[in-house]
Amino acid sequence: MTDSTLLQAEFPTRTLTVALAGNPNSGKTSLFNALTKLRQKVGNYPGVTVEKKEGKMTAPAGPRQLSGDSQTEGPEVSILDLPGTYSLAVRSPDEQVARDVLLGLMPDTPKSDLVVCVVDASNLERNLYLVTQVQDLGVSVVVALNMMDMAERQGKEIDLEKLSRSLGCPVVPTVASRNKGIEELKKVILSAPRRGGERAWHMPPAMEECVAELRQLLMKEHGIGGRLAFSEAVILLSKEDLSNEPLAQGSPAVRERLSSLRGRLTQLNINWRSAAIEARYAWIQSILKEAVHQSVTRRLFLSDRIDLVLTHKVWGWVFFLGVMGLMFFMIFSVATIPMDWIDNKFAALADLIKEAMEPSDLRDLLTDGVIAGVGGVVIFLPQILILFFFIGLLQDTGYMARAAFIMDRVMNKAGLHGKSFIPLLSSFACAIPGIMAARSIEHPKDRLVTILIAPWMSCSARLPVYAILIATILPAAAPLQKAGIMLTMYLLGIFGAFAAAVLLKKTVLRSATPVFIMELPPYRLPSVKSVLLQMWERSFLFLQKAGTVIFGLSVVLWALMSYPKHSGDPTEALNHSFAGMAGHVIEPIIKPLGYDWRVGIGLIGSFAAREVFVSTMNIVFNIGNAGDATEPLLDAFRKAAWPDGRPLFTPLSCLSLMVFYVYAMQCLSTVAVVRRETNGWKWPLLQLFYMTGFAYFAAFVVYQGGKLLGF
């Protein structure tokens, strides 16, 4: 019998479900990508807001192909990437999900047949902690010993056989970022025993007795299995705050027993809070002492030397501000080259259609609606790529954690957590991933504050708006001044966000300043692949939005601006269109901010998504000026005037408009995400209301104040 028929006999053609568990930064995502070759889909677990990543494992290359034996395919292997966690016990949403999935308690997610624990070989001690917790659940485990290259560079020699014997499960060395060990891991996944090993770590005898007693009670009270009951007993006994523990809350008997057991342990001078944790670490240390040899004694690793500079009192700030400055400068200088190219291509396409088709509504729809609309957004792709490139690079090198380390004191001033820095920084690209990244903040109120202020970080969808308005104010090429205005807009958003955070923390979301306990991972050379992959994934989302939402809105807006049909010159026609009417209706409201009804149309469109402003303006002014459809929007802006001939887009009204865009909540997708993340309409509606209200107020102050000062 060949290997593969053996497999076939043991696991008939059903799907094998494999879960990937591991600490943050252990290389889980890289391993997942290597195993699935990107055949994956990303979703959400029902009811909670934790990302669910699923993929199909590609078949291992191996003896089957060598021997030419092709009839057996082996079982289909479905891989589930669990959220990265340090533990299963404290139960942040991420930990709860990881645990429920491993136990098969998560609706719509099959119980996993096998858990691959991804372990950072260069940081074994702490990484194995989670492995002991996973093993407690009685599931079958394979350890993927990742980052082997890093461990070698540290002079660590790991005896794989010994390690595997002590852990009681297969251990496969891998370097996920360079695809090493992946084939071997696949084979082990297919052949590993489908049962958990015995527990190998032990607590002090009195603690063991107490856990055993509690385990019996839990089995009786809740009808759960022995392994699960053991794992729960350890967690319950060690945990101070039982308010989130259904097994304790649901049963007075369990609560009574817990307090009597704790009393007993305290009398015996055993610290029930730490006994189990210490026992796990002691066991890990004893294994590592046998299996790992450090050939080089402790020296200053490269990463530590880099930190000497990058977290230095002076150089740390120089570097931090330098990186941020460079990022925004790139977005405004380098990006213009491909942007011009895209602009020309779309213009050429519109011309082509104009020549090829007879004048008709359909032709106008294509050129003035679809091409102008979508083109006006796609043009910002280069800037978005650069932004995501920087964010990916910062994350991949490990600098992001240093940024949180440096900024924590500042965030702390607003009652926030250094970790809020990452969601907030991501929000500069897009509030949606930013708000989702807030999941890593454990305390619910702090998470909520971060979510509520995140959309005030100027996202990339505002870039098109800022860019066109800045170009209107400063026609000449003046990259420094332009970057200066841009930076001001970003700072206004940041300032508003911090003020709001302080206010929220003092009022509706009053709570203590959150704790900050964060790993500083070693600096790593970024992997080109993973940075590019991230750029691609995010940009794809953006293009998808451009292709669907913005395409749809462009068509709808075009229709609103073209109908009902009105004879006469195009400006008149727009004036009498549905959109024109709506613009006229809100003109009295927005006039004090310095905008006319045409800008009003843009604002209305922007409530679906900010970037629609540019495409709407394209349509508004292309129609309104009856000019060439490819006439650049900028020229149109400069020519635009009030009925009395005063220019519409003065520097002051442009600034007022930019300030409005800084503060207004104009993104339906964000409202939807906040609703999902907060499980209700209360917070997103509050956010919509206070953000937009403040935007109106701030723009009003800028425009009227500026006029008073004589601008």
């Binding site: 340090y86 533990s87 016990a89 404290v90 260069s122 940081n123 074994l124 001690e125 702490r126 902690y129 060690s238 945990k239 101070e240 705050d241 809070r273 730490s274 944790i277 210490e278 670490y281 530590d304 930190d307 977290t311 230095h312 009192k313 002076v314 740390g316 700030w317 954690a401 380390f405 440096i406 924590d408 004191r409 500042v410 702390n412 250094g418 704790v515 900050f516 306990i517 964060m518 790993e519 500083l520 991972p521 070693p522």
Partner: protein, 77 residues
């Protein structure tokens, strides 16, 4: 040999964790991250603004605020 708080250590100073006086989830988190009795700890540096701190524990770098570090008693030689 003397006992001080983790938050009182000087950059570069090494010691051994003796006790964790905190309670609740924060204490559990610190324990789980490896700050247990007997573990070797080194205070590597303070953040540029003086808080949080960067410590080396069980071979990796962990950052925490001084306030949390006050719960950890360290024996320094």
């Amino acid at each position: 040999m003397s006992m001080i708080l983790l938050s009182q250590m000087a950059p570069g100073q090494k010691g051994e964790v003796k006790d964790l006086s905190g309670t609740g989830d924060i204490c559990q988190r610190l324990l789980e991250m490896g700050i247990t009795r007997g573990a070797k700890v080194e205070l590597v540096r303070f953040a540029p603004l003086g808080d949080p701190i960067d410590i080396l524990i069980r071979g990796y770098h962990l950052s925490l605020r001084k306030k949390e570090a006050e719960a950890v008693v360290v024996e320094v030689g």
